[in-house]
Symmetry: D2
Subunit: 435 residues, 4 copies
């Protein structure tokens, strides 16, 4: 009866693509995909070709009636799409290296998802995603847009404020934590429940149960925790963690251990270059592997890349939306009252039940008093940065930066902003409009 | 490994008891009940004996290792309980008849769960339930209290404000609507999703999907809907319903069709007596049946009683709490932000995910503007009535009544209040304290 | 240095005009008025001529350099205006009589500022006032619009939501209460302080001090209070008032004593006709007096008209705006947090400090719990009725009415609405648009 | 008729006392003071004697019937008091020097009103002020407590949460800004209006009018602004200020120019010692002057001390409370809805109308989006620090510090906290309780 689904992957030449293709293959019984369209830009054609061919080999091996199409024209791909996933990087890894390196010159943390680097990435990305939304409004107005592109929280807030397309932001950190707990407690996925509070890359887990029994105190006491590869592996301060009331995301080290993280980044930058440069090398290796015409499945090496489980998260979400499963997933969505100290339209990262009509945030049992201020402070930055991304207004961009908790001098912020805008000029038409 | 659960049913002599016993038998694999304690008061001993013996016969027939115990002393039953359910009626059906008949004399709707009748029931019930909670704090502090006793929303709010016992309020209207939709659309339970907004006996369903497709407009357009036996079966006004934005609970006829309902109640009262008197006759017939020593299962006739599915709702909730299933159930719980126009501690009736740590309310996608005022107005009454129930303060009781939407004269309210308090004197020690 | 102010009075042919002219004369030192423009519609020309000539005689007698101009074209009057006051009645007293009489047929209170009558007045008035605002946006965009036209709260909310013109709603009830207290306590104006909470014609006074000492308990205990002529003079119920926590506006008798007020209105209607008809007779007498060429001041008889002190309130407000006095006045303005249980853009009636930049609401010390529900319920009606007035959508109009606390049957509401819309057809182009 | 007022000044031996005594003398016609009680602790007796004798000479010269009393026992002074003002420094200037110097060792700003220093001052001060409140509850329960003791915002929040005494927090920054604007615009006090938003020592002025005309853009554009002596005189960044939407308090340089301020403090500390040491020298000079038996008025040199206008602010506030003037003053009071993004009980610094019943906050017209996050972040710190002050819980103290925007490493925070607590041990019985 159902005629099968059409999926469009924007940024389809990404090294992550084999994972999502594997996901579609493995979940075909729940998610009857008929067409996968991998879309990329001309500069990414060589990657699209390599990855696209691997994808075709993977599907062929599976024996499933799925078509894989490659295109450089998203308007060719979008008509009638059911799900559009966006996993592109405007400016590619080169721009990421600017995000990571320029702030270091000013003694400020350079990171591609928060702080000055994250803001630049938002400036580059938001207008492009809104262009995609405008195409979707015309060509597939009922499709779901699943956005993986960082800063995922800010991008999702921008889309929900400036487009009518139904969009959801996704991050792999929650699923990564889930997997980590499964190992830690040798427990199946379904036995674990966590309550997430906060924003994308700024969340705390305020409840963790295994088979319904709370493990929160235990985990806070141990001071250990899950951390992804892309963030320096500093130890948490145990006295601090044990009083915090929630397990912090490893991204919170940028805030709670700012001095130490800055030092680490500065040293790593001298030794290995920025994270962007490290990733570039990993990616090159991956693409070498992907070229192998004998390869018909996702290679193990992909798991070493930062974004583990991204595609699993995406396929899970598509399955739940498609099948109206109403299970709980941690997503980036408008607040809608779940956190009563933030506006209703603020995008937050929080548990949602996923219905066919979309995700609905679950309220949070108890938010530790201690974390509210930091959430508000970063949300203020996000709201201003989104406004700057939309308007191209430098003054608002300066305000955004000046109010980011990682900034400790508006004078430095101003100079750094000028340099970063100039460096990113090619990707920031709204900031460099000819009047 | 798990040693089995202990259940205490307060008001165990109720005619509903065979249903809940049946529920425990049918769900034994999910809910390993070891002991059921049926508790009642001395005046209810004859009912307890009849129902208790039926329960024992039912369990025996099932062959399951469940013990059924009868007692008139709840402190004997409570130690070590896992779940306590309360389904009693302070003042029994006689008091209900006062709730229903005295207001009619003043031209005001007499109903046992809202308006002046509901307030009296709250006055009689809340102090008794708080006494039970105090016993539980001592004897089974970790047990869940599942409260069925009306007015379930107000009782639950009072318990959450004045006791540390974990309590949840339950009503059969949501599950009844669910069953009705299953028939209407010939659909399995799992394919139906509804979003409930409001208070107990004052809810609207603002989203209804079957297999993820919205049926809301269709149902609003048809003007038809689910209605329980205990409420007069007046037709809804179609023009009104189609613009309302949510399917109203049948209890809302008391508000939206107040004049018509009043007339209906007055006529029915002349013809058949009050609903209390009708129920009394039904109950007597049921107890006659229950006496039959050959009867070893819940008789069909029980379904004609108003509280259909109550026990199914209760057993479902216990299963989900016990098994940490995190499925969605419609419950009476503190708001916690789900409805942003009510205080966080206001008890509301809303979808929750049910974890082993308790239910967590889900936010509501979109509350129709039109219904906010009525929700607030009734909540104001509830807050004041709860305060009056706790303090025994007549002045606050008058304020509660004066601000209830069913009251149109504070002069009448004052007179009626005096009469009702006087009539209920035996059950209202807080209002008639010797100074 | 200041070159004098230009005032435009829309509805200048009103019987109230001599009072506002007297106000300008008496306050000339604080408010240097240079031009008064009295504007009316052709049907009101005879009144405009009579009142305008009286105004000219009053100014001449004063010897002040004020010009009085009469016109039937508001666009002639508006350019460069500093203050525009609106005191017109769309549909004149005839439409008021419909507002008051049609509901009575359905057993519902007929009143021109709340309930079905108030809604009709809002439907007739809001579009006309928005037309005036559009002219102001073009011809005097910096002028203040002081709106006296009822329902003043709803009109002000509509203007603040749908126009950029700075507008403030004014009612004479607060100043009337102030004057009444001055007599009651033989105290000068400045020694009295009151805190108003609520909406226009739906306020409570939750603090009353004379020389800083609270008189609230005393006044609540006595049960007496200020009441204007236009509302039936029923006694308050003392038990009720003493527990209410705030002195209610006399308009609240429509809600708290609904049955009694309805009976009173029905009887008065039989005896004297509606209030509209009574006012019509009073007005005719006034205009007879105004015609007298010897009359050069406001006649005493004007005080018997319902709107006592309206003009005093208006002139006070203009003085404070003009002189940046920052004194406290009770005005209808957007909430802005003063009442935390209503949205920020809801228009409320509350104390404000009046600066040259406009009024700023003062927070309310303590809102009695008991009154929140009624405020929310009426605000829901107001929001819906404003939306209906703007869109001409009958379905929304029915929702507005169905959720008004004075309505007790949506069936009756539907029929009454049809009749009232039909009767008001000539004044409701948005509801009777040719498609 | 009025029998005159009794004032108790706790910390009466302060060098500020001559100013407040001068205020009482100059405002005797508005504020009929009969008794002034100067209270100090034994260590302050020598100061109390010097200042007290000067106060007596001043009063004698004035010829007014005011008694000046000196005591080391506040319980002797409090009975029947009308106003109690608190201007003491627990730990005296020595403790201030710890607040200022220890953080510098960790590369963190040392300041006695915010950050780690402010927290220590709160820990020393809050329990002492609550002891005073307990005495007041017994001896003068109706008196107003006017608190000048820093951190004034946190102290006031603690008092409002943990005592029933009516208290108001006062800072001289708002009046200082007012005086500065008077000079800048050569305008009388009454012609200036400002809107303050934020917390004590963390406010922005979002509206400034002179004679009702806005000067905000002008002042934001110029980048100049008022600054008190006790804060390093760094220049603001003009690009930043012009986009900020409000004139920041000079205390905000600690946040917006954190790196620069830290450097400045470190250098000043090397050159002149801490601010505490500078103040100590100024104070010693002042007390030398005060000793002069010929001196009968406040010496000019007092104005060079940081707390200019403190006493003017205090006397103004007493006058307004006593006379129910309802004028507008900028005070530290519970929020009550004025800032809708903070809880109702959060103490904020905001415009209030001052009635005899107390100050009532005025809502804020428009809060710039950019400043909300910083306000929330500092409020989070304040709430936690107050809780730590009350409980003596080190873990909460660490959370407070870890979430303060001036801290960039929880590891450093932990070490610094240990050192500071140890250093302040004598003044922190709650943190060093013998179990």
């Amino acid at each position: 009866m159902e005629k099968g689904l059409k999926i469009v992957v924007i940024g389809g030449g990404s090294s992550y693509t084999p994972e999502i293709v594997e996901g579609f293959i493995n979940n075909y019984d729940r998610l009857p995909v008929r067409e996968i369209w991998l879309v990329d830009i001309p500069q990414g054609k060589w990657k699209l070709d390599i990855v696209g061919n691997l994808a075709k080999r993977m599907v062929e091996k599976s024996g499933l009636p799925i078509q894989v199409n490659l295109t450089l024209d998203r308007r060719e791909a979008l008509p009638g799409a059911d799900f559009v996933s966006t996993q592109m990087r405007v400016g590619m890894l080169e721009a990421r290296s600017w995000d990571e390196s320029i702030p270091l010159k000013y003694g400020i943390i350079g990171q591609e998802t928060t702080g000055p680097g994250g803001m630049m990435k938002a400036f580059r990305t938001i207008p492009v995603l809104l262009d995609i939304c405008r195409d979707m409004e015309e060509l597939c107005p009922d499709a779901w847009l699943l956005n993986f592109t960082n800063p995922a929280g800010m991008v999702t807030e921008a889309l929900s404020k400036y487009s009518k397309i139904k969009s959801i932001g996704l991050c792999n950190a929650p699923i990564g934590m889930h997997k980590w707990l499964m190992k830690e407690y040798d427990a199946p996925a379904s036995s674990i429940y966590m309550e997430f509070v906060g924003l994308n890359h700024l969340h705390w887990i305020t409840q963790i149960t295994v088979n319904g029994e709370s493990k929160l105190e235990e985990l806070l006491g141990s001071g250990s925790g899950y951390s992804a590869k892309n963030v320096p592996q500093l130890e948490w301060n145990k006295s601090f963690i044990s009083g915090l009331g929630g397990v912090p995301s490893y991204y919170l080290k940028y805030f709670y251990l700012r001095d130490e993280m800055l030092k680490e980044l500065q040293e790593a930058s001298k030794k290995d270059g920025t994270r962007a440069e490290v990733v570039k090398r990993v990616e090159e290796e991956l693409f070498e592997l992907y070229k192998d015409p004998e390869l018909t499945e996702k290679p193990k090496q992909l798991e070493k890349r930062g974004g583990a489980y991204y595609s699993e998260a995406a396929v899970n979400l598509m399955c739940s939306l498609y099948n109206d499963t109403r299970d709980i997933q941690t997503l980036n969505v408008p607040n809608n009252g779940a956190l009563d100290f933030l506006p209703g339209d603020a995008c937050i990262e929080v548990n949602c039940i996923v219905t066919k009509q979309g995700p609905i945030p679950v309220t949070v049992k108890k938010v530790p008093e201690s974390i509210k201020g930091l959430i508000c402070a970063v949300k203020t930055y996000e709201v201003l940065a989104i406004e700057a991304a939309i308007t191209g207004d430098r003054s608002i961009a300066l305000q955004a930066l000046a109010h980011h908790p990682l900034i400790s001098s508006v004078n430095d912020a101003e100079k750094m902003l000028e340099e970063m805008l100039e460096q990113n000029k090619a990707y920031l038409p709204r900031f460099f409009a000819v009047e």
